[in-house]
């Protein structure tokens, strides 16, 4: 029996699928994006702006590399000792009046949250942007159970009202431009005369939400960090919608992945310095909130934390994969990725797109889905260079690629796949000198028919045409290297005599 299957909505052909179990493989999923110039323009524009701001503020920080090293060390230490720090967090949070729940998977987390909402008699709930809730597909589940969730982050409102899905983990509506936002708001908020000025659009969102903040008594948030030492939760935001949700309601539910813990409060001095700079190119985001359990007279008087595993504990065993969980969700990797820049986030078929998504999603799916994602990269390493906690994403990508290949090999799948066939033939040829020389000889003769006067091959037939469709290939030189080397040695020796 799977609750997940029960509440999975009928796929809407106009809505991107961000569930790795149902999404198209990456090479197929990118096709509609590549044919959508407006979307690509929106993504490229937004990314160029963030990248430029980030670069300026990172250059300004003379100790940036030292901060990265400390960030990586703190997060590694945390993950290696995760059980101890989780227990410490649980104890401190409980002492401070919080209720800590544990959820092994998405299904359990959804049910724990629904049980709390039922206890509160909640039919509506306000939400701070949380990718973890998108990971467990909380909103459609709550809707089916009769609880309407109001997203309150501007980007999330755009997506919720536009019946769209997030394409970025920090700026989820980055693929939507101002006139598209205007159209969505005008239609869904009934504002016929709304202009497409971002100020007017922002003001419309403020008005739309104000009464909801003041009247809906239950809220759901994610967490940027949990502090083991104090049992505190930290939420980082810009708009103030977060502060509204975690201050005004009577009851607060925080959903957090088990890897979100930091050992001590002081660790924030590293994380807060690198997070906003990496994420939005700000020295510090406008609002950072920290709270500890329940404070009499200030904020929600009932507070729950749901600690979510959902595949994370499986990633802890080996260092290569474990580093994935160091992630603090700044999105610098996707902003720097040449592949993401062209495809945007929806093609990744997961709420976690870009390079971090390419390594996180398949692992969260225990390598049963999203197997094409580790290949959605050029391995250029830009993501590793910008990562504030030094996750070696290319290294993890390669490891996951080999896992996918071994898995397919074991299953005997793709035995006749042209790529695998080609690689097996190459293996045969490259391991025997005589075969290699013969193949070279044949290739030299064969390719001569396709090499033009300028020394370049502009088009090849059949499968080779896929290469020459978009690029030229240099023709083979008249003499292979080993022949040239042998000749050079001969003539060199003669000259010496």
């Amino acid at each position: 029996m799977s609750n997940a299957a029960q509440h999975h909505p009928v796929p809407d052909p106009h809505r991107p699928v961000l569930d790795p179990r149902y999404a198209q493989p990456f090479p197929k999923a990118v096709l509609p994006v590549l044919r959508n110039p407006q979307l690509r323009k929106n993504v490229a524009h937004a990314i160029d702006v963030i990248q430029a701001k980030r670069a300026r503020l990172v250059t300004e920080k003379a100790d940036w590399q030292q901060l990265r090293s400390a960030g990586a060390a703190i997060r590694s230490h945390l993950l290696e000792n995760l059980a101890a720090y989780l227990e410490e967090f649980e104890a401190r949070c409980t002492e401070a009046g919080g209720m800590v729940h544990w959820a092994a998977d998405a299904d359990e987390a959804r049910r724990v949250i629904l049980d709390i909402l039922r206890e509160e008699n909640a039919s509506e709930v306000i939400k701070i942007k949380t990718m973890t809730s998108a990971e467990i597909q909380l909103n459609p589940f709550l809707e089916a159970a009769g609880v309407h969730a109001y997203e309150t982050d501007l980007a999330e409102i755009i997506l919720q009202l536009g019946e769209d899905e997030p394409s970025h983990i920090v700026v989820p509506a980055l693929h939507v431009n101002r006139s598209q936002v205007r159209e969505i708001f005008a239609r869904r908020m009934g504002l016929k005369d709304l202009s497409d000025d971002p100020h007017a659009l922002t003001a419309a969102a403020r008005t739309y939400l104000r009464q909801k903040f003041l009247t809906i008594p239950t809220a759901i948030s994610g967490a940027n960090f949990l502090v083991a030492e104090t049992g505190s939760v930290v939420v980082v935001e810009s708009e103030g919608n977060g502060r509204m949700c975690l201050t005004l309601p009577r009851t607060m539910i925080t959903l957090a992945g088990i890897e979100k813990v930091l050992p001590r409060l002081q660790d924030l001095e590293v994380m807060l310095q690198v997070l906003a700079r990496s994420a939005t190119g700000e020295r510090m985001n406008p609002y950072t909130s920290l709270w500890t359990g329940v404070t009499p007279g200030d904020g929600p008087q009932r507070f729950h934390v749901v600690l979510l595993d959902n595949g994370r504990s499986q990633m802890l065993a080996r260092e290569t994969e474990r580093q994935t969980l160091r992630c603090i969700r700044c999105a610098a990797c996707m902003n720097s990725c040449p592949v993401y820049r062209q495809t945007g986030g929806h093609a990744y078929g997961s709420v976690y797109p870009g390079p971090i998504g390419a390594i996180l999603t398949p692992q969260l799916m225990r390598m049963h889905h999203a197997q094409t994602l580790p290949f959605a990269s050029t391995l250029c390493g830009a993501c590793y260079e910008v990562c504030p906690v030094k996750i070696n994403i290319p290294e993890v990508l390669l490891e996951l690629r080999s896992q996918v290949v071994n898995q397919e090999r074991r299953q005997g799948a793709r035995f006749f796949d042209p790529m695998y066939l080609g690689l097996r033939i190459a293996n045969l040829i490259f391991s025997r000198a005589w075969l290699f020389h013969t193949a070279q000889f044949c290739g030299r003769i064969g390719l001569r028919f396709f090499t033009r006067g300028d020394g370049w091959i502009h088009s090849l037939p059949s499968i080779g045409g896929k290469w020459t469709q978009t690029r030229d290939l240099r023709g083979l030189p008249p003499q292979p290297f080993h022949a040239w080397w042998a000749e050079r040695n001969r003539t060199g020796r003669q000259e010496a005599k």
Binding site: A62, S69, A84, T202, G240, Y287, D298
Partner: protein, 226 residues
Amino acid sequence: MSATVSTRRQILDRIRAATQSVAKAPDELAGAYTALPRSYVRRGGLTQQARLALLIERLREYDAEVVECGPDQLPAVIAAQLDESRKRIFVAPPGLPSTWLAPGFHWKIDHDLPAAEIEKAEGVVTAASCAIADSGTIVLHHSAGEGRRVLTLLPDWHLCILYASQVVETLPEYFSRCRRPPTLATYISGPSATADIEMTRIKGVHGPRFLHVILVDDLGAPTILN
């Protein structure tokens, strides 16, 4: 509840099994933590004047208004700021000095005011715990002079009074000043903002759209932090 208890056991067991080769023994954990490399800048090198200048520059860069004054001028400067705001109804936390509550305005003191009452106020005046020059950040620990969290959230206009002795240069300096960890904290860096539409920074979404800071020159006077 029993389902959750066994889930807890199950998750912790899985984590322990996966990390058994790297996890430290309980008595070695603190030592391993202390040994983590921290070669980043802990303490800034600016003079007091340069530190204050940096704070002002960074606050202004993110659209906060800053004025400076001496301790004796403070009540008059507060009154002038309130006057300039063209607002009449203000809320204040119960712990503010009475001299800060300028006459001629309608003051509501927050003795557990309902949110709807605070929402009706046009502005709020508070003290602060600390400020960080490097990032232009104001720190509230929500003590009696800083008010409950809701107080600095609903009104559209926030006037924050900050003493020069409360200003540190770097974020690590702030954390080393926290002798007791705060149970509540809000770090404010400029007024509420968003860049969700085409990465255009728009000032003021849900939090106060206007942030004013009075920086009081009390050099040599004792800090009121913690």
